[in-house]
């Protein structure tokens, strides 16, 4: 699997949600993934923060309500952190 931001995020999500990485789609969300409950959401936040070395705000934690939205949040947070 690629080391792009999307590839890394895919691995993070698959690990926390205990689903196949390939099965994650942009629209994957708690509406489609049974294991994505409130506890899993916070574990996703922790895992994203440690994988990408970023710290997410409450608004960003709320914003990442699907895989595609989480990717946008991460890309923005990584860009804001700088090189």
């Amino acid at each position: 699997m690629s080391d792009t931001t999307e590839g890394r995020l895919r691995r993070v999500f698959a690990g926390v949600l205990r689903v196949e990485a390939e099965g994650l789609e942009p629209g994957s969300s708690p509406e489609t993934v049974e294991t994505w409950d409130s506890l899993a959401h916070l574990m996703l936040v922790s895992a994203v923060e440690s994988e990408f070395g970023v710290s997410l705000t409450i608004d960003e934690v709320i914003e990442m309500a699907s895989f595609a939205k989480a990717l946008a949040v991460v890309e923005h947070a990584v860009a804001a952190r700088g090189p």
Binding site: P30, E34, S38, I58, A65
Partner: protein, 327 residues
């Protein structure tokens, strides 16, 4: 349209069929779940407590919110505020479990960051108001209040509410019993919010500003009952607030108190570590617990364990003895 893929999505589809009976409730569920789909789990758990009353009491509360807002309720904004209130709790709870302490170190800090800040406070009040219906533990406490506390009120005299906040309990008490209420709060924004709630509900509530850390401006032994909801964990010395409430109560009059142990929020200051901690405090403040409901925040948690997030509610009475107060 494809079939729902999760139990969560199936529940959401099912609640949509209740739109005719509870239009505001269904609308708000839709708005909340669109923003943060996993919060459907909490709302579904609240509904499961008592589906019929979830709909009737929930719709009634939202009708009051609708009437209280100038120009009608802005449901997308209320949904955003409730989502923020819920997610902030989750994030702060995770931090508490790592650090073993609340973020806010003093009630003065909470006063400055929350109670005096109009924007923060209005969002917070909408959030906690909706949590009365959408958080299963808060909904259970609301039923405990309606079913168990109100029937214990006897004799003449007003009911005192210390930390009136959104004003929902006072409005419900007025509707169910016709009793007058004296409501106090440290936040000028809460007093405005509670006033709008009372007016929308046609409730008799007299509101005054009071810093409860410095006493309760009520005559000794004059109250037919008292309410103190989600307040004592916001001050450094909860015993002083409880002693003041006890002083205000007429002999034998009941106190309805709710609080939280090891459960974080933006303005929680006093960290109770267990239900036993809370009982000890009530007893040492001259109150005996007549009935209580202790609920773990996370399903399956042990309500008697230490350092497990809990919601606690009790109906208390004075154990007698001298009714000394600080004022």
């Amino acid at each position: 349209m494809t079939a729902p893929t999760t139990a969560r999505a199936a529940w959401r589809a099912a609640i949509r069929t209740r739109r005719a009976a509870a239009p505001r409730l269904v609308r708000l569920v839709e708005e909340v779940v669109a923003l943060q789909p996993y919060l459907a789990d909490s709302i579904a758990a609240a509904e499961a407590v008592d589906p019929a009353r979830f709909r009737s009491i929930g719709e009634h509360r939202l009708e009051i919110m609708d009437r209280a807002a100038p120009g009608g309720a802005d449901w997308p904004a209320i949904a955003r505020r409730f989502v923020r209130f819920s997610v902030e709790h989750l994030v702060l709870q995770r931090r508490l479990e790592r650090t073993g302490r609340y973020d806010v170190r003093s009630s003065d800090e909470a006063d400055e960051r929350v109670y005096r800040n109009r924007e923060v406070m209005e969002g917070y009040l909408d959030g906690i108001h909706v949590s009365l219906i959408f958080w299963p533990n808060h909904f259970r406490f609301l039923l405990f209040f309606l079913d168990r506390f109100l029937r214990r009120l006897e004799g003449a005299g007003p009911v005192v509410e210390a930390g009136i906040g959104h004003g929902a309990h006072a409005a419900l008490l007025s509707r169910e019993t016709g009793r007058p209420i004296l409501g106090f709060d440290i936040s000028p924004h809460a007093l405005q919010y509670a006033r709008r709630t009372a007016e929308a509900a046609g409730a008799r509530v007299a509101l005054s500003h009071a810093d409860l850390r410095r006493g309760l401006p009520v005559r000794t032994g004059s109250a037919a009952g008292a309410i103190c909801g989600e307040m004592i964990e916001h001050v450094e010395d909860p015993a002083s607030v409880l002693r003041e409430l006890r002083r205000a109560l007429a002999p034998g009059a009941p106190l309805f108190v709710t609080t939280a142990a090891f459960a974080a929020n933006v303005d929680h200051v006093h960290l109770f570590r267990s239900a036993a901690d809370i009982r000890t405090l009530l007893r040492s403040s001259g109150l005996s617990v007549e009935e209580e409901v202790v609920l773990p925040v996370r399903p399956g948690g042990d309500p008697e364990a230490r350092d497990v997030a809990l919601n606690y509610a009790a109906i208390c009475r004075s154990t007698g003895g001298p009714r000394r107060g600080v004022s």
